[in-house]
Subunit: 343 residues, 2 copies
């Protein structure tokens, strides 16, 4: 019998904290067939009360690990790292380091999570900088995009590392032999990208990855590629831009349907269809970004995630732990840079 | 009596050429009250035939200026500049240089248009690099965003120049005294942007512009600012990403409404509302990007623009010519950098 996988949940992180994390944990346990144990990390009394309120005080697959501190959403990462050694975020990561958990999930502040995870777990050999990777819906299914904000001013070599990590992730979670990897670029004919992208293209072409060339911003959604690689500044702007467009479109559509009685009636008739449509591009379905390149699985949930969204992040953590993503990345990098492994 | 403004139109540029440009020209003349003359630049016989077909062979406000060459959409800018001295694009820009036109519009390839405009018209004193600026819809109305791809690896000083140009444009076309200018940045707490953005923030704070700080990608649509400034690589990725999201959303929505007879009926009922909504965020309404920083008004239309969209680009050219945008930018820069003007 295989040992059940164990995932540590930062029970206090995010804008909402335990009111989201505890129901999400129960939701995942109720809907997952994989043997699974969850550790809720945070204020013992609060988490126990929340479990009791949900009639799950004695759930056999849930345990609580007390942590006395909480990292604030706007807390500087350096401060969190130095002063919050017993925070729910830190202890959840510590559990991964100590082998007591196979992965951890936090909706806490991204900077602190990245800094703490990097400090505690360390990067994999051959990885200079961890990257944030998420899945975005596309016309052909979905696309893994990285980096989404962990790194700015990335060098070509970093983009290559991101490409390796994204490719390994796509292979493991989508069961694709040779994921198609593209570099995010711009289409101006006289420029064809900045220096880092031009150099990265050369590295990728020689990498043995299934590098398919450049895509522009719309290619994230319209191109038939599996992984899109970019600098974290560019990726973060793109990600936030997507959120902004989606909100703008929603805003104007609601405005039109609320214009008068007739449009309200039309809205009522169209509502079931619009709901199905909305579910399809529901950002909650895509909640859960991977901090790739670390010696351990760390998943970042959106700070404002609800229980449905947080449950999705837990499922991603489970999948990455099952698939041993860090070990796979390490293995792939060793093949790419045999000289580095000797160091 | 004021002399009517004259706009030169590259009649052969874009994916469609005269079939778009000629009807767009007639549309603008039919709907604009400002005294206006249009010069169609390109193959005399083709343009004359097109005018005749639209029963406008002798339109008093339209003249044709023959140009024997056409710049291809994928033609390298350097080649267009060297070998296409009698292209419709080049001649339209020459007319601005010679004072025979107050502005020009082209749907031709952006790289060639930028390179040719820069070579022929030159940049304004105090401007190192022209920038591409467009208007995007926002919850509060609209936002001017630049640079959208003319420059990559922009330095802080260039971002400041973009900010001045965007601010002048917003003042002139939106009639705002002190447009709120924001820098596009990312929100990671530990990083707070790359080096260029950090330095640009200092320059902007000391510039006398109404600098309001950073916005993230969603701020383009949701923040109450007038101008958003960014490097051209970042801006181009954001712009193309927006196009991609919009197409993805449209794709999924159509899919849902076409699912079965019931959803088709719901779609029919909702159609008029969705049409109004679509018009509101219709990219054609926002067609026409300004090449700012040149000694003349040059407007770039989307290559695949239809007549409605191209007409919008002509109207932007008219507005910028009326408002003497290049002179205003020059004036503003002189106040910002008095030492440069002495050179």
């Amino acid at each position: 019998m295989t040992r059940p996988l164990t995932i540590a949940l930062d029970g206090m992180g995010g804008d909402i904290g335990p009111d989201v994390v505890v129901p999400a944990a129960l939701n995942v346990l109720a809907t997952t067939t994989t043997p699974l144990k969850l550790i809720l990390v945070g204020q013992q009394t609060i988490l126990a009360a929340k479990l009791a309120a949900l009639k799950a005080a004695d759930h056999p697959a849930i345990s609580i690990r007390h942590a006395s501190q909480t990292v604030a959403m706007n807390e500087p990462p350096a401060q969190a790292l130095r002063l919050k050694k017993d925070s729910s975020m830190r202890v959840a990561i510590d559990l991964v380091k100590q082998g007591q958990a196979d992965a951890c999930v936090s909706a806490g502040n991204t900077g602190a999570l990245m800094a703490t995870a990097r400090f505690v777990l360390k990067t994999l050999p051959g990885i200079d900088r961890p990257a944030i990777c998420t899945t975005l819906p596309s016309i052909h299914g979905h696309t893994h995009v990285l980096d989404l904000g962990a790194n700015v001013d990335s060098k070509a070599e970093h983009l290559l590392q991101f490409a390796v990590m994204g490719s390994v992730l796509a292979t493991a979670v989508d069961n694709i032999d040779a994921p198609r990897v593209a570099l995010l670029n711009i289409g101006e004919e006289d420029i064809k990208g900045n220096e880092q992208v031009k150099q990265a293209a050369l590295l990728l072409a020689a990498s043995g990855l299934n590098y398919t060339g450049f895509v522009e911003g719309d290619g994230i959604f319209l191109s038939d590629v599996d992984v899109v690689v970019c600098d974290g500044f560019v990726g973060n702007v793109a990600l936030k831009t997507i959120e902004g467009v989606a909100k703008l479109i929603r805003h104007y559509m609601m405005l039109e349907f609320k214009r008068n009685l007739l449009t309200r009636l039309a809205g009522l008739v169209a509502l079931p269809v619009l709901r199905v449509f909305k579910r399809k591009i529901d950002p909650r379905r895509y909640n859960g970004a991977s901090l790739l390149g670390l010696q351990g699985v760390v998943i970042k949930s959106h700070g404002s995630a609800d229980a449905v969204a947080f449950a999705n992040a837990i499922k991603i953590a489970l999948l990455e732990a099952e698939q041993a993503i860090p070990q796979r990345i390490k293995h792939h990098l060793a093949a790419l840079h045999p000289e580095r492994q000797a160091l």
